[in-house]
């Protein structure tokens, strides 16, 4: 029936001289566009969560263990690794496994992630105790999420509009 409607709409479009996508063709592409926005937005969020302070981000870096410990999972929240675990490879986020309607979790495995985000008591080089204010990279990324999604939706929309005549 959809095919018949599609053909009917195509016929109608031809009669009117329309050569672009029919409404039915456009509607069939919506899931793919939504998936593209979802994957792109998750990549954008992961980018925020791994961008270190020297590179304009908020994630502190000393040896790189914290940002490299970010893990994406579709099975559940990643668990914290034991203290001292070293993460030596750059994080890779396989967007191919992300599907529409599927939950995705992003989490740091480094044991010191919470302290770095929320703050802790530290000792400075003069031996004084001080309040090390948190870096707040998690809260900042969460606050930025609507902008990330909007930017990705605009990107996908522009790609579609750019191909409107084909």
């Amino acid at each position: 029936m959809l095919h018949a409607m599609d053909n009917g709409l195509d016929v109608g479009a031809d009669l009117m001289g329309w050569t672009g996508k029919t409404p039915m063709q456009w509607a069939r592409e919506v899931p793919a566009r939504l998936l593209a926005v979802k994957r792109g937005a998750i990549e954008g969020l992961a980018r925020d969560l791994t961008q270190t302070k020297p590179h304009g981000g908020r994630v502190p870096i000393k040896h790189g263990n914290l940002y490299r410990s970010l893990l994406m999972s579709t099975a559940g929240m990643p668990t914290m690794a034991s203290s001292g675990t070293e993460f030596t490879t750059e994080p890779v986020f396989n967007m191919g496994e992300v599907q529409l309607g599927q939950k995705v979790w992003l989490g740091y495995q480094a044991a010191h992630a919470a302290r770095q985000n929320y703050g802790f008591m530290g000792t400075d080089s003069l031996g004084r105790t001080y309040n090390q204010s948190g870096s707040g990279f998690l809260e900042a990324a969460i606050a930025n999420w609507p902008q990330i999604v909007a930017a990705e939706a605009e990107y996908v929309r522009n790609k579609v509009v750019g191909n409107a005549g084909s």
Binding site: G119, F120, Q132, S133, A140, N144
Partner: protein
């Protein structure tokens, strides 16, 4: 004349300083050096403050309205060496949660805090994060999201 970001901090700090904590605790500003307090019982509890800022959001084409937002995180630090009472060694979970309740109650959703022409609004009822152990302290955190609109 202090800038916008300073006035935002002062609005939050002024509101925080008016909160009556039970038990009474020293509040440590971000990046401040301090000597962990001690009283007649032993090491005393205190509150660490973190002032987290998000990216500013431009609200209009003319660029006249921007929204600043952030999170104030208050971490209650209870020394594990300090007994809860004469008969109870460790802090009961309910008592630990109750220590944070004045902080949660002091920053209800939509509370407006003003300082030098800047108005800071609490976005929602503060979050209470699960207690955890960090070194020599049992900690519980209150997370207060806020925003301020600059015109």
């Amino acid at each position: 004349m202090p800038g916008l970001d300073t006035n935002i901090w002062m609005a939050l700090k002024t509101a925080l300083s008016a909160v009556a904590l039970n038990p009474a605790m020293v509040v440590i500003d971000p990046s401040a050096t301090f000597t962990p307090p001690v009283d007649a019982v032993g090491p005393a509890p205190f509150v660490l403050v973190s002032d987290l800022r998000n990216d500013r959001v431009r609200w209009d084409i003319a660029g006249k309205v921007h929204v600043s937002s952030g999170t104030m995180i208050l971490t209650i630090c209870w020394p594990i060496a300090r007994p809860w009472s004469l008969t109870t060694r460790d802090v009961p979970h309910a008592a630990f949660l109750e220590m944070a309740s004045p902080l949660v109650a002091a920053f209800p959703a939509d509370r407006r805090m003003r300082y030098s022409g800047v108005c800071v609004r609490v976005l929602r009822t503060p979050d209470l994060l699960p207690p955890e152990l960090d070194g020599a302290y049992r900690q519980i955190r209150v997370r207060i999201p806020w925003e301020a609109t600059q015109k």
